[in-house]
């Protein structure tokens, strides 16, 4: 497939935004049960603000993918059948929840609504955070399923696609949360950086598993089934046009095999190996700068990862577009 930069930015930005929100609420939940010291409201407010900025940027990027952005509201209508439609509904719902979660912390308006049997208070932010957590995971699933549900794009048609969207978004979000905590709430930085390490490592496992799976895929469609002629030797002489078409632009990445290979190794190093080392160093030295650096390098790595994710998918329609004459 041809990787569209609008979608590359959309999926990486909202993934990081969701991960950051999950990280914030993880810290708040720990604090609610007394596992971590309580943090100032400003940490949550600033974190929610940053998450919201990432989500808005992602939403803006997504509009560049549309031919008719002024009709985008229509995309919310087919949630019964279309994962894309579901994403269109869940994303604003999640953004709204993050907004109100941030506002509740910003203004300090956080009354206790109930009390758990253990005595832990249930505040408005706890309720909003729980709703946000559900929506964040729902959004990961929607985003992943947009690709995983296309059964003839076999590189994507696997549960690993959804798992990787959760893990990679979570990894960058937790790394960013750790970098923010280094400034706003140093006491929780080690916990967040530790989680970022674990999720990044899990992301590496998930992504390598996908790479191994995809390397072993055998195409289901062949030129024989595409035109229905049972002969082992068929060569396309012309695809019916010389100047190219939507079919030759949208479904080919246009990069060489060597380029594809080098991007694969590049993202494995920049999205996983380098951030893991920087997070480890930042954790041992309590250096927020190293963790911030880890986030930026990891985000660049994830851009390459997402580019590769699209480029690697081989669409069966390409069987019909092999020769210009």
């Amino acid at each position: 497939m041809h990787p569209a930069f609008s979608v590359v930015f959309l999926t990486t930005l909202i993934g990081a935004g969701q991960g950051l929100f999950l990280a914030l609420f993880t810290v708040e939940s720990y604090a609610a049960f007394g596992l971590l010291p309580l943090q100032s409201d400003s940490f949550y407010a600033v974190g929610s603000g940053v998450a919201l900025i990432l989500l808005v940027l992602g939403l803006v990027a997504s509009f560049f993918h549309l031919g008719r952005p002024e009709r985008a509201w229509r995309a919310a209508t087919q949630w019964r059948t279309s994962w894309l439609s579901r994403e269109v509904i869940v994303l604003p719902a999640f953004m709204g929840t993050v907004f109100f979660y941030g506002v509740a912390h910003w203004t300090g308006f956080n009354p206790e609504l109930a009390e758990l049997p253990s005595g832990a208070p249930v505040n408005i932010t706890a309720v909003l955070g729980t709703i946000g957590t559900v929506l964040a995971f729902a959004l990961y699933i929607c985003t992943g399923m947009i690709y995983a549900c296309l059964r003839f794009l076999r590189e994507w048609h696997t549960p690993l696609t959804v798992i990787n969207y959760i893990l990679l978004g979570g990894a960058s979000g937790f790394t960013l949360a750790a970098a923010l905590a280094a400034v706003e709430a140093p006491a929780v930085m080690p916990v967040l950086a530790g989680w970022a390490l674990i999720i990044t490592a899990l992301g590496l496992v998930g992504r390598v598993a996908t790479l191994i799976r995809n390397a072993r895929l055998k195409p289901k469609s062949t030129l024989q089934s595409a035109i229905g002629i049972k002969h082992p030797k068929i060569v396309q002489k012309t695809m019916g046009m010389m100047g190219g078409a939507f079919n030759t632009r949208e479904f080919f990445h246009g990069a060489s095999a060597a380029m594809l290979r080098s991007i694969k190794w590049m993202f494995l190093v920049t999205a996983f190996v380098v951030p893991l080392m920087l997070l480890g160093m930042g954790l041992s030295q309590s250096a927020g700068g190293l963790i911030a650096l880890a986030f930026f390098i990891q985000y660049l790595g994830l851009l390459a990862e997402r580019w590769f994710f699209f480029a690697q998918a081989n669409h069966p329609q390409n069987l019909y577009y092999q020769s210009v004459a």
């Binding site: 008719r68 919310a76 046009m241």
Partner: protein
């Protein structure tokens, strides 16, 4: 239920692209379908939106090769994978005749349906910024101001060798159903379970078998007793006798 479809006879198609040009002509200039624009039509790399393409394949190894011309358009699948993924409902399959259509007023141009089509049947219109595809000339086949002969898709009308048949594949007595049944019609990429409505008829070897007794009358009475003497080379032939 009706399922309109094309049946394309690969044994007959000569690859003249008349269906391509007539499709483009009708769908560009018809009063209701709107234009199908080109970019750079007179420049170096002309490109544009088409509903129909004729591709050419070489089957076999030289010198035992065959050239197969392969017209390709939307197959109007009975289980269209492009329809449920559409987030706006712009892509739909008509209940009454099974034609898969795009509502150009609802389409947001997200291209997701084209990803979901294994056949590459959909092309974006770079001018209108909406997805387009073969409509089976839905604005033609129901136009009662036309004669019955004209109420057929433009590609079918244009085909000089009648390689394209049009009709209801759910009606067992229709021309297309009979063609599929009797000539081994097959769908493309059956492995994805999309049940394409359009079918293709395979190449067939046409052989004329003539027996000896069909060349010479077996019951010729003159041959009962003896073979007729062959006339000598110098004898006058029939032409010499009659041409005066």
């Amino acid at each position: 239920m009706t399922q309109l479809a094309l049946v394309i006879d690969l044994n007959v198609c000569v690859g003249c692209h008349a269906c391509v040009t007539n499709c483009k002509e009708w769908n560009t200039s018809s009063p209701t379908a709107g234009p199908m624009v080109d970019q750079n039509p007179y420049g170096k790399d002309p490109t544009g939106t088409f509903f129909n393409r004729v591709q050419t394949f070489e089957v076999g190894e030289f010198p035992n090769t065959e050239t197969v011309h392969f017209p390709k358009s939307c197959l109007h699948c009975e289980e269209p994978p492009c329809v449920p993924v559409c987030p706006t409902g712009a892509s739909y399959k008509r209940k009454e005749d099974g034609i898969v259509l795009v509502d150009y007023d609802k389409c947001i141009g997200c291209k997701y349906c084209s990803w979901a089509c294994p056949y590459g049947a959909r092309e974006i219109d770079e001018h209108q910024k909406v997805m387009k595809k073969c409509t089976l000339c839905v604005d033609r086949i129901y136009d009662t101001t036309m004669t019955a002969e004209e109420r057929r898709p433009a590609c079918v009308r244009a085909c000089p060798t009648s390689a394209r048949l049009f009709g209801d594949i759910h009606d067992p007595d229709s021309e297309v159903s009979r063609a599929i049944r009797e000539n081994g019609g097959y769908p493309l990429m059956p492995e994805w379970g999309t049940s394409p409505a359009n079918h293709y008829l395979p190449r067939r070897k046409t052989k004329l078998r003539i027996r000896e007794d069909e060349l010479e009358r077996a019951d010729n009475p003159l041959k009962i007793d003896q073979q007729l003497p062959k006339p000598g080379k110098a004898e006058p032939s029939l032409d010499d006798v009659t041409s005066w």
